[in-house]
Subunit: 522 residues, 2 copies
Amino acid sequence: MSATPAVPASDPVSSPVWSIDPRTGEQREQVGVEATAEVVDAAVRAAHAARGVLADRAVRAAFLRSAAAQLEEGRDEFVATADAETALGAVRLNGELTRTCYQLRSFADTVDEGSFLDVIISHPDAAATPPVPDLRRYKIPLGVVAVYSASNFPFAFSVAGGDTASALAAGCPVVVKAHPDHPATSELTAAAVRRAAAEHGLPAGVVGLVHGFDAGVALVVHPLVAAAGFTGSVRGGRALFDAAAARPTPIPFHGELGSLNPVWVTQAAAAERAEEIGAGLAGSMTMGVGQFCVKPGLVLAPTGAAGDQLVKSLGGSLADVGAGVMLDHRMRDNFVAGVAERASLPQVEAPVLPGPGPDAHTVGPGFLTVPAAELAREDGPHALLLEECFGPVTVVARYGEVAEAEALLARLPGNLTATLHVSAAEASGADGGSDLLARLTPLAGRILVNAWPTGVAVAPAQHHGGPYPATTSTSTSVGSTAAERWLRPVSYQSTPEALLPPELREDNPLGLPRTVDGRREG
Amino acid sequence: MSATPAVPASDPVSSPVWSIDPRTGEQREQVGVEATAEVVDAAVRAAHAARGVLADRAVRAAFLRSAAAQLEEGRDEFVATADAETALGAVRLNGELTRTCYQLRSFADTVDEGSFLDVIISHPDAAATPPVPDLRRYKIPLGVVAVYSASNFPFAFSVAGGDTASALAAGCPVVVKAHPDHPATSELTAAAVRRAAAEHGLPAGVVGLVHGFDAGVALVVHPLVAAAGFTGSVRGGRALFDAAAARPTPIPFHGELGSLNPVWVTQAAAAERAEEIGAGLAGSMTMGVGQFCVKPGLVLAPTGAAGDQLVKSLGGSLADVGAGVMLDHRMRDNFVAGVAERASLPQVEAPVLPGPGPDAHTVGPGFLTVPAAELAREDGPHALLLEECFGPVTVVARYGEVAEAEALLARLPGNLTATLHVSAAEASGADGGSDLLARLTPLAGRILVNAWPTGVAVAPAQHHGGPYPATTSTSTSVGSTAAERWLRPVSYQSTPEALLPPELREDNPLGLPRTVDGRREG
């Protein structure tokens, strides 16, 4: 259920929702109004009422594939609208739309394949203590899922993004809270998804859409909302997490909040590939105007000549990166203020000073340096440098002894990614390469070697999550296991064959992969 | 690390911890003192330091098996001590100890088998959008787990119970908060587990033990505690859940809090088996003096002659059940007060009045009846009847039309179990049997047909959990999937073979079951 009736300009309570062009700061169009509590309630109830129609896995899979087709069909309009609202550019947005369609189809494949149901059967065993009766377990949908769209992915982490696709795959209807940076794109996407729903006889309420800050709060505390997915800031995500936990009936809140994404460059790696690493870093940290959740925000680089060369290469490469427009003016202001505050800290230098761009709407990329030993001090003045700064900036911490790097790593909060750059010898297992990897593993949910964290592949082995504040749970929001978030197990005991759901029947009429008495089948 | 040094009777701050005989209310012995914040901190740090030694799966499995052997070796002393503290009786406690050993060995098997690592490998795919790099994912231990022992299972849900066994299986050291109803048993068990640890060169700190209410609170907010498992009351569990969620870094809190465990007897089932169902219900609701978390606490029985006969059978069977001693005097007082308050509600009758037993330390079983239509009223005075009452009492709600039963089911909070008693015809799928099952499924984590919920088998397909307040998460605390609670996924991207953990290497040197490019292996 949409919160977007014909624009009621005279609505006495609801604030208008405007689509704004970040390249100019001007209002493009009024998209609708912020949803009142009543509108949120209606959207949740419509979603709740749609649970039954999602029970059929074949319908779910077909719906997801149709949603992908609908998005592709409207590609030009979607990309143009998203670009006008986010300034992310047509190339990036076309790629993101393709990724979003790929993701929808991947989850359709997940639904068809059936492993996510995690069917486990234990036949009776009278010899066990206590005796084992006939037990058959699989996973069922939790119910209505609240999805909070991200600012920085108007397609892939928004109305038809990974949270929505994985929830629908799991059999859960969703109500999406649109991000205020792209309300028009959100409405267009929702309409496309609903056209896909209609193709399969599903009601429009299967994917609801609401606008407004208050609507987001009302959503997470609604009694019929059974779980939530969020991508955004630590402050906003934590407030919603707290609200979800404080409910009379708490619900799972899978939030992706913030991440520094540390990169550790060994002395040997710098000696071997200083130029290449500096250039790669410049590309990764400025991609999408530094607005990726996996932007490398902290780099541990050695002191000495090789490290100096890396820093020089970084600076040189940044000179080739032009100024960019951030997603909205508030973010731009936060970036400008945030880098200025960081740059003013003692012992912090700015070989390329990030900050305001050549005109009032742009920002220029840059980086700061600081001695790692200073940054590692618990009582030091540099704590701010260990907080994510959204935008095209990274902090290069220079370390001498390896122990200095380790001391700094020990101070880091949780991360989505941690990256190691090693030499060829270290990569072959010599010189303690695996020890380094073991030290990075506790820090993050994805560990990379001689690669860059930007670009999150949609694949079964993907894990996009990590220790808090990277995520508020142990789950992933990308990859096929993301569907696990919206399910709960149920076990049927001593249940006559005729009453069992087909997924659990002895003869496996649906041909599902399952584990029977400890043996994997299919 | 234990909080039990030589008894410091003159300790100026720590309160003594007494083992108390519930059959007399008398103090048996002083077991130790309540742990101060410093003692809790030392226990957590000792556990944290033991993480590394648990990394070897073979060691973990061997340790779990040795723990089982140590428990069996001390069986007579353990059972005698537990009986003196809990009055559960030697027969039940011997069975529970056997179950606990079986559970420890089952988790050792889980460790050996390796499916819990959930290894998924995605090989590079340049054709995907975005391109898929080499990704290899498995699950790693979260860190120190806080375990809160249950009153009613001094072995199976306590120091060496399912939470501890599953955490150790996952590679997580634990610190157990002992339950005040069986501190001496807890110390004996911890000592046995530590003897097993020593056999494999593991430090004693791998399983810590602390006593005291404040220690339990200090434990859940300790920065090095990474997750918690709890079995107990809604009030205590919710307070700890709230504390876990309010931490600067929130942690997963897997709590089992409370459950009514509804039983629905169809008209046809009552017509066919009234005597048998009444007798079975009497046995299940009084087992362990009604102190099981899966005790059937609400029974929907039809009005009319068959339902009357069921009620009569229940009453007759209860007459054969003697008075029993509850786990402690506070529980007994709560039971006596709780049933009296419930029995005084309008339209509630007590064909067999539960309450105080023949002497000051016992309670007698009984049951209450109420019209289902009254109990289903949102504005009615009967809300208390929908709260779990620990002890040998159940509430029989009499319904006329099926719609009355459904209206009552719609009002229930979440449950561990929901049970359906049907006729032979309904069990064969006739007369809407599967519809009934579909109506019960949203209510609970385990659904039983023509059986009783007491007796929770240790098996891969078990699910012991359910919608809140049955559990605070979607997890199970019994069965091999219980180990999933203490793990988080991590994915390695573009990582040279030589640096990968052996679990993720291409040639699968450990022979683990895994999923490679969507194909299940092993």
